[in-house]
Symmetry: C2
Subunit: 339 residues, 2 copies
Amino acid sequence: MPKPSPPKRATVHDVAAAAGVSRGTVNRVLNGGYVSATARTAIEAAIAKVGYVPNTAARNLVRRRSQAIGFLAMEPHSLLLEDPNIGAIMLGANEVLSVADHQMVSLVVDSYRDTERVGRYLRGGFVDGAIIVSARAHDPITRLITQLRLPATFVGHPPDLHHSIPFVGIDNVGSARTITQRLLQTGRRRIGMIAAALDRDSGADRLTGFRQALGDRFDPSLVAEVPLYDYSNGVKGMRVLLDREPLLDGVFAASDAVAAGALEVLREAGRTVPGDVGIVGFDNSSWAMRTQPPLSTVHQPAREIGQNAAELVLNQVRGTEPAARSILLDTSVVWRDSA
Amino acid sequence: MPKPSPPKRATVHDVAAAAGVSRGTVNRVLNGGYVSATARTAIEAAIAKVGYVPNTAARNLVRRRSQAIGFLAMEPHSLLLEDPNIGAIMLGANEVLSVADHQMVSLVVDSYRDTERVGRYLRGGFVDGAIIVSARAHDPITRLITQLRLPATFVGHPPDLHHSIPFVGIDNVGSARTITQRLLQTGRRRIGMIAAALDRDSGADRLTGFRQALGDRFDPSLVAEVPLYDYSNGVKGMRVLLDREPLLDGVFAASDAVAAGALEVLREAGRTVPGDVGIVGFDNSSWAMRTQPPLSTVHQPAREIGQNAAELVLNQVRGTEPAARSILLDTSVVWRDSA
């Protein structure tokens, strides 16, 4: 079994002793002041030897900057594990922050205890700004960020947003309308929707787009409401729809994972896709390519969403763009075999 | 369009002005010293009003503690997005750290630039310890952590580990042996393996277990080596195996995602599962339940891995267990329909 070293951390004193110089000389090197080349070389070797931690934290404290940006996803953790977009949003944000030499730190908010502690962390000056995914304006952390005037950007438009934090999102209404129209154009007449997460802007907006596309043909009894965008909710929602309307010939599932669950129920019920029923999803996630048949769906530019969110935060941190605009990114529809 | 506030941050001076007290009185409150109840109430109200950031960072600096633990996954980012375990490991670690009032901060390492900057972050005293997933001992960040004597734990056993950092893992050799034996016991005679990620302990150990189970029957030509544990590598590996041995009747896929890709190739080739070919996976991820047929596989206790990793780091941070032991957690085999 390996044995770890004891957790003692080296001090300036240890560096000075190892280099054979005074603490003042070490501090001059650490603060970028003048010392002889010989002393500098000895001190740098001593820093490496004793494993000294330079005082970046202290310097940042003086500058009131951490060079770090928090990334917070306000999702139930079960969803976080399944979300097809969150990873790509994080990597997109990290790309932009990395080029700007900022450290992205992802903070999990999974319990009340986390909320309290993340709040202290944000107040503690450990980050210069925050990117917040799936927030609502009444979330305690969102309220705190507003109160602190911490530079921040939302990913997605909080349904109850009435304040100063800009957001990056997609046009969920228009995208849902477009993909529902496809079901109409291919001759579907009894079209239902599995509507997930109606407490989020994305969920509510997708239902609005569905309703707009159907116009007079919209039948509220053909909307199955489910709480989450996942596979098992797709199973539940599809059972409800088939029960209410056995002649259903078209389905808009609010996400690809929901569509995958719905496909399983249609298969069990002996309905062919796209023969008997046409089905479309949303996200263009890995689900969409691996279902049988592959899904027609809406492509979310997740990486670009992350990049734009990072840029909006950095603009605020730098003060370069005081009136940061919110941004809506374009989606595209991907046609495969399911409708 | 909403307009953000300018990024001005409140100071002790602003608090003092808003409360109508001196800066010294504000500082006494911030440092936990005595002030009158009236002054304290006024100052707390003023802190809330002006959005002052208390000096947690300064206090932590004096204590040489950040109360934060870094979580680093050293995976190519494409894999990180698909990894079925990483999210559960993170949440398990966060549970333990949260109860211990430590902030978990996940750091993405996606490029050389990230490596440099994460290195500075670790040196800068922003974290008291680190959990490192899928590291190798020669990784620059692993070397740095060793040099800094930063409390740390590996998830998985770095193949080139010869030093002091403890690890949490599973017995990949024994688990792979057990699940391969199942293929033998159900009468399979020409058994191949899609062996992924042989540069990692997990990948190399799973191949060792496969070879041990087969003993004299092991045929190296029935091992298809692929770089990554994902669906598309399962597709590639299965094509290689079918090409080399059309009479193949058993497959051990190194992960469930690999098995899902292999199933697709078998389906296209007109082979029934488990009729013509028995196939087993590894992970018990969401893939395993959703393939047709569902997969027999090895359950990885991902959440417990994260919890144990957090405990090992905290033990080192507190100095309560100087000789931290590495930990191997038990797996279990889950039998479904694919073999």
